[in-house]
Symmetry: C2
Subunit: 354 residues, 2 copies
């Protein structure tokens, strides 16, 4: 799809590097799960019923002013590289690739709003913002949800709240998360303590590339666990409060690092930047780690004379499917690592000499 190719040149709203606490908070994401009354749930539905729910949701989305000029994508029709490309852009889940018949993806302007149709629920609506911006993200997704509910009748129980395919989502159907760059807490080995505290508060911490991935390069997604028995605003408030505390702790730790270990941190930051500018073959995992150190260094003012580059955009575009889309063909693993190193040197303003 030509329209998907266009995304690669565009700047996702949530990657702008702006918004509250954008020195430490990369982005905010809220998604809500909804199902349509009278339609069989996806996993129980036959072909006919799946098509019916896809059509019904698509029809409603087309009426939404929030999905005006949106891209309507049929997962079945996607080429393989485009599927992974959309996953890498955090627009859809890996699970959305299974049983691809009768599944849809709607991508709104700036990729700030999007929706999976017929993932495990009929609707998985998503809003993304840059920085730590749970309040605005919630405000927006709530508005879209309210509008959609005027076109569709949701499956809702006065006792449980929104009903979902998996009981872990029942209630609010909401998962809110903020991605944080906790480089100083990792460097000083305090991240485990943060992890323990978060678990006790009913929250979870995941890696950069989403659910089921290990944390690499000091980027962590912090999200609510519970959906049942709490209101959306209670959950958002609780998450917001914890995020603010973690950000404060990370900032304090950065100051302590500068005070007590400036030489060691400066060394690490400059080595990381030097390696990124020099490598000819580099894996995603290593590049994220190095970029993480450079991000820390830039924030601490340790990298004078650095050629300005768009860190968030680079974190996104150096992923395998993005590299392959840019190259216009499938690439073997080592070739991807070579193209990734080329891309990084290019973005960092190094004359690649190829």
């Amino acid at each position: 799809m030509k329209e998907i190719n266009d995304l690669i040149g565009k700047k996702s709203e949530w990657l702008k590097g702006q918004g509250p606490h954008s020195d430490i908070a990369i982005s905010t994401r809220i998604r809500i799960a909804r199902n349509i009354k009278g339609h069989v749930y996806f996993y129980s539905a036959d072909d006919e019923a799946r098509r019916a729910s896809l059509d019904r949701v698509t029809e409603a989305m087309r009426k939404s002013r929030y999905f005006n000029k949106a891209l309507f994508i049929s997962i079945r029709d996607l080429e393989e590289v485009d599927r992974y490309f959309l996953i890498e852009r955090h627009l859809m889940s890996r699970e959305h690739l299974e049983d691809a018949e009768h599944k849809g993806l709607v991508v709104g302007n700036d990729e700030a709003v999007s929706a999976m149709i017929n993932e495990e629920d009929h609707i998985r609506l998503q809003v993304m913002r840059s920085g730590s911006d749970l309040t605005d993200a919630w405000k927006l997704i709530d508005e879209i949800d309210t509008e959609l509910s005027s076109f569709l009748k949701y499956d809702y129980s006065t006792r449980f709240g929104y009903l979902t395919s998996c009981p872990t989502n029942t209630g609010t159907g909401m998962r809110a998360s903020v991605m944080l760059h906790l480089a100083a807490l990792v460097m000083t080995r305090q991240i485990e303590k943060v992890f323990d505290a978060i678990s006790k508060l009913g929250l979870t911490m995941r890696g950069f590339y989403g659910e089921g991935t290990a944390a690499i390069g000091d980027f962590f997604q912090i999200s609510n666990q519970q959906t049942l028995g709490y209101s959306e605003s209670d959950i958002i408030d609780n998450l917001q409060r914890v995020i603010a505390k973690i950000i404060k702790k990370e900032k304090e730790t950065r100051e302590q690092l500068i005070e007590n270990q400036k030489e060691v941190v400066t060394d690490r930051v400059h080595r990381s930047y030097g390696t990124l500018k020099s490598a000819r073959i580099i894996t995603s995992a290593e590049a994220v780690k190095l970029l993480s150190a450079v991000r820390l260094g830039a924030d601490l003012g340790l990298l004078d004379g650095i050629v300005p580059f768009d860190m968030n955009e680079l974190l996104l575009s150096m992923q395998p499917a993005h590299l392959q889309k840019m190259e216009g063909k499938l690439l073997q693993s080592q070739d991807r690592d070579i193209r990734r190193a080329d891309l990084i040197r290019d973005k960092l303003g190094v004359d690649s000499g190829r």
Copy 2:
């Protein structure tokens, strides 16, 4: 001693980076052990006898035309940093520091010829050349030896040859070595095979910083083991033949690396260069490893646009005592690692921003 300070700005003959096979052979060294007839051997000698042999040898050396304008150093009078400085320049052994009373060091022009007096033998004469130049080195040391023997009567047995303090040196009293940069053989894990072959041929392989040191950064000193039962020219010829074979093997392996693993080697070389240009704290061991990769890369033409710098001089001057002499004071370990990183960036033409 002011004269020792002058050495730091001078270029040792053997570091010129010229001479036969200087792409792979860094330097050649021959030393011979001699004792003076009628003088008690150092370890058995009392103070009086030690002073007598020191005086006797010094007197002869002062007459030698090869030690014209030489620096005559009393080990006892050396400051600590100067002692290690001279060891780092390969002008004397670590053992020469023990029982420092009545010990001398004579350093000739360009540091190409030198002699320890009263190390374990009365005389340890040394000649160094750049590249693999055993023939010329032997020619020179033999001339000096002949001249000295006109001023001194050596302890010599018609049955055993030259008599020495330790029986492992008896016979020729000669140890000849060539320092090779075997980066490709290390990278392709063939160095163990070379090591095994060398042992069977009565030769030994040692690390960059001499006897008892591990090989770091792919620099190896290859020398003869035997001194008894062979003539000097037999030993030199044997060593020469083996060195030539190893150099040939290293060159072939470099060509194969370029043919089969160009991307991987290029990556490693550029990362090494990038790290050297970026690090703010660096140990000797790491710096030697990285410089080794850069030396290989430069030789293979993989480092376009590299600012020319004197690799051999840097390998020498980044050692602890050299750093401390340049700084004019003793430095703690981490401070040395910081100064070393500063020195390297400076030599590599990086604006250090300090």
